[in-house]
């Protein structure tokens, strides 16, 4: 039947896309943990949490930008922001974002302004990238659901 074929295809597309996110390092196993937490009682849990992250990260990135623009940079403050971003990105499994945070923190320790600015830029880039990825993913999910299908479950057995 056409409809179910479409749904099936959409599901496969979703699977492929998700797989690519893992393969390309955008997501790590922590995201799987999040998926486990989502269930019928909380069908939008992941969307909710990811949204929280991007709101928070936007704020943090703004804070970071401002902090690094100051004439006398308070590296401890900068480090604090990065630390938080590292924590939240790791908690949703946004691996590449987290990795940039780690690098950025080392520049903070060295009090290396150049390095901080450079990696702040990278941080913004990575955040934007993964945000788009999530947007795509969620859109696909919505379309699957709209077509009457369900999202395939992912159980990664290590």
């Amino acid at each position: 039947m056409q409809a179910s074929m479409e749904v099936g295809l959409m599901q496969r597309q979703w699977v492929e896309y998700t797989k690519s996110l893992f393969m390309e390092g955008f997501l790590d196993s922590q995201f799987i943990e999040l998926q486990k937490l989502q269930d019928e009682g909380n069908p939008d849990f992941i969307v909710e949490v990811v949204s929280l992250f991007f709101e928070d990260s936007e704020r943090l990135l703004n804070d970071l930008t401002r902090a690094l623009e100051e004439p006398d940079v308070d590296f401890q403050k900068v480090d604090g922001h990065v630390h938080q971003l590292k924590g939240s990105s790791s908690s949703i499994g946004a691996q590449r974002v987290k990795n940039v945070c780690i690098t950025l923190r080392s520049f903070c320790e060295e009090q290396n302004i150049e390095g901080c600015l450079r990696y702040l830029q990278q941080l913004k880039q990575e955040t934007c990238l993964v945000k788009n990825k999530f947007e795509n993913l969620f859109r696909m999910e919505q379309q699957i659901m709209a077509a009457g299908g369900s999202i395939p479950t992912t159980e990664l057995l290590f």
């Binding site: 179910s4 074929m5 099936g8 295809l9 496969r12 597309q13 699977v15 492929e16 998700t18 797989k19 893992f22 393969m23 390309e24 390092g25 790590d28 196993s29 943990e33 486990k36 937490l37 009682g41 909380n42 069908p43 939008d44 849990f45 909710e48 949490v49 949204s51 929280l52 991007f54 709101e55 936007e58 604090g80 630390h83 938080q84 590292k86 924590g87 939240s88 790791s90 908690s91 949703i92 499994g93 590449r96 934007c128 990238l129 945000k131 788009n132 947007e135 795509n136 969620f138 859109r139 696909m140 919505q142 379309q143 709209a146 395939p152 992912t154 159980e155 990664l156 057995l157 290590f158």
Partner: protein, 674 residues
């Protein structure tokens, strides 16, 4: 033993799926049903967890994980709010999870205050796994330390810390001789339905310990199990302290204290319970020292008297210093105190108490003062003042040592005792598995060192001073430590805390950021009618493509959404407990006047949240450009899983054959981020 009763009483309480506490029955019943489905009708289901984290993402994830563990979760994004919640609801929580890095208060400070005021187990969390930070957690008394990102498996077992703490406190209770034989038997019979043999073993061992005690006071048979609750007023506590002082360290047993106090209507059990809490308090004082020399001392001899008093007295010495600094203690009093202490022959100078983390002491002092709210005129809780600055009568470590217990043995014991804390703490791990080093319970270790945990004291200290010391809260606006601040440490009755296990629910407290629930009908958060206009909440229609991000209103007062935990079972429970347990509850009422924190009053400046209208899912904003592929990295995959695994797993759900290339509309190619 209380644990045994706990198991029994839990069955009384039970998890009734139809028992809804929320204002919106739908979500609560969903979570209740889910709880039942997950087999959440047994302990530790309903464990009341307070999770504190300023990161909203982590907070939400933790909340969900804890809910999935069938715990009753309250989340909070500000440490100050968390503290006020804990104070308002003394027995409302069983365990606290807190992040280390928080903007308004250092997580370690929160840890200390919770440990001191409420004596709850606290687990620290951080993305920081550096050894120093972890050690800091250990030293400040965290019972565990979790590295973020936290996995649900790590949270499943946090109940053990609650049990462990209760167990050690019960042991102290027994060892202090505060329980009659009759009481004990009664409790055992009531707890007969406990299932775990582990507790059986520990019960027996603690019983043996009791028998081995040097002082087995005669049992007082007169006490009925159910006694009217005693309010430990400041005057009463002063009398208690005087009595303890007069009796001396080794002799301060409940019966004699009772005789000395000569208060009609006061029972030995009341005194015993109070004594136990007093000891706990002193132990906390003494157990916080991070001095490395602790680790090097030899292992303690269990026969020796644990010189809590000596420790406490040293700490008291420091307390006195603090008091002096802050003007609460007159130099004359301090001199008198020191003179008293100097009468005692010196034992081998052990830990230089002066080197105790002064910030710790300070922070210990702070919460008491802050209870007075507007009266914290002296101690600024953020000021890291050295306690020994400008003190006219400086107490050298030697002098401090002088103040300690006369016997050399006890001096050594003190070393060992503290050392025991650290050693046991660091070595404990293997019993418990899981996070090894972090698995500490200072209470437990100290509990084990106590075979005769008579409170020690500094004889001759004016009782008013002693009161000041004990309470830690120097003055309120009244100018004397004359209110129920004194016996603050009484407030949490160890057993009464255990029994209230409401169903797995979620409550939240927000300071300035409200996370609106996206799917209002299904989210647990929406089950509370408190989401009023006070909170700027946008209802999101997830069915539509255009979903705006969560709106954050201007900083507003946090709204305390706390389900009233059903405390009626506690009245059942307290039937079976000796009256010693009632004191805790008593204090709740007695200190109400002081703990009326309305955190609605605590206006936090916070960070104004801009109402972010950048749509997360607005297709219109998606730019149709292709970014270079070079940025993709494939090396990360190998870290986690093999490709084949991935393939097999992802295709868990059966897929239909692909007969042709069908364009999946809406699948955008990669977009460039502006």
């Amino acid at each position: 033993m209380a644990l045994f009763c706990l198991w029994g009483y839990l069955s009384l309480w039970g998890m009734d799926p139809s028992h809804t506490k929320g204002t919106m029955p739908t979500s609560t019943s969903i979570s209740a049903r889910k709880a039942a489905d997950m087999g959440c009708d047994q302990f530790p289901a309903g464990l009341r967890v307070l999770v504190v984290d300023d990161d909203p993402t982590c907070l939400r994830i933790l909340e969900k994980m804890l809910q999935n563990c069938c715990y009753a979760v309250t989340k909070c994004n500000r440490a100050e709010i968390a503290l006020s919640m804990l104070r308002e609801n003394k027995n409302g929580f069983d365990i606290v999870l807190s992040d280390v890095h928080m903007p308004d208060m250092d997580g370690f400070k929160l840890l200390e205050q919770v440990g001191l005021e409420m004596d709850l187990p606290v687990i620290m969390m951080s993305a920081d796994d550096g050894k120093n930070v972890v050690m800091k957690g250990v030293i400040h008394g965290a019972c565990d330390y979790l590295i973020k990102p936290v996995r649900i498996e790590a949270l499943k077992n946090i109940w053990q810390h609650v049990v462990r703490k209760r167990k050690s406190e019960w042991k102290d209770l027994e060892q202090s001789g505060s329980m009659d034989d009759g009481d004990r038997d009664q409790n055992v019979s009531e707890g007969a339905n406990y299932s775990s043999s582990a507790y059986d073993g520990s019960w027996n061992s603690s019983k043996r310990k009791r028998d081995a005690e040097e002082e087995l006071e005669e049992r007082d048979d007169t006490s009925a199990l159910k006694k009217p609750r005693v309010v430990w007023s400041v005057e009463l506590h002063q009398q208690f302290v005087i009595a303890v002082d007069q009796l001396g360290i080794d002799k301060a047993v409940p019966k004699k204290i009772l005789e000395l106090m000569n208060v009609p209507g006061l029972s030995r059990e009341n005194v015993a319970s109070h004594l136990q809490k007093y000891r706990l308090y002193l132990r906390r004082l003494s157990g916080v020292s991070p001095h490395p020399s602790n680790l090097n001392n030899s292992f303690m001899n269990p026969q020796d008297h644990p010189p809590f008093g000596s420790m406490a007295s040293s700490y008291n010495g420091i307390d006195l210093q603090t008091l002096l600094v802050t003007g609460q203690l007159s130099p004359q009093s301090l001199a008198a105190l020191q003179a008293t202490g100097l009468r005692r022959p010196t034992a081998k100078s052990s830990l230089p108490m002066a080197l105790v983390d002064q910030n710790n002491i300070f922070s210990f002092e702070n919460p008491k003062l802050r209870f007075g709210e507007d009266q914290t005129q002296h101690l600024n809780n953020t000021k890291p003042v050295s306690l020994f600055h400008g003190i006219p009568t400086k107490m050298e470590p030697k002098q401090l040592a002088n103040m300690q217990h006369p016997s050399v043995q006890t001096q050594r014991n003190m070393n060992m005792n503290m050392n025991m804390n650290m050693n046991m703490a660091l070595n404990i791990k293997s019993e418990h598995g899981g996070t090894q080093l972090m698995h500490l319970s200072q209470q437990q270790t100290v509990g084990q060192t106590l075979n005769n945990s008579n409170v020690t004291h500094l004889p001759g200290i004016p009782s008013t001073l002693r009161n000041l010391i004990i309470s830690g809260s120097v003055t309120t606006g009244n100018g004397t430590a004359d209110n129920s601040h004194g016996p603050r440490y009484n407030l949490v009755s160890p057993t009464s805390v255990m029994v209230n296990y409401p169903m797995s629910q979620t409550t939240e407290v927000f300071q300035e950021e409200m996370n609106s629930n996206l799917k209002v009908s299904s989210g647990v958060m929406s089950s509370y009618g408190v989401f009023s206009d006070l909170h700027m909440q946008k209802s999101h229609d997830w069915d539509s493509q255009n979903v705006s991000t969560l709106a954050f209103g201007t900083p507003h007062h946090g709204n305390f959404i706390h389900h009233s935990f059903d405390i009626s079972p506690s009245s059942l429970i307290h039937h079976g407990f000796p009256s010693s347990q009632t004191n805790g509850e008593n204090h709740n009422s007695s200190v109400n006047g002081k703990t009326n924190f309305s955190f609605l009053d605590s206006t936090q400046p916070g960070i104004p949240q801009s109402v972010d209208h950048n749509s997360f899912f607005d297709p219109g904003e998606v730019k149709n450009q292709i970014i270079p592929d070079a940025s993709y990295q494939t090396d990360l995959l190998s870290e986690d899983f093999g490709q084949d695994e991935l393939l097999g797993v992802f295709l868990k759900q059966e897929q239909q054959e692909d007969n042709g290339s069908v364009d999946f509309s809406g699948y955008q190619t990669e977009n460039i981020c502006v």
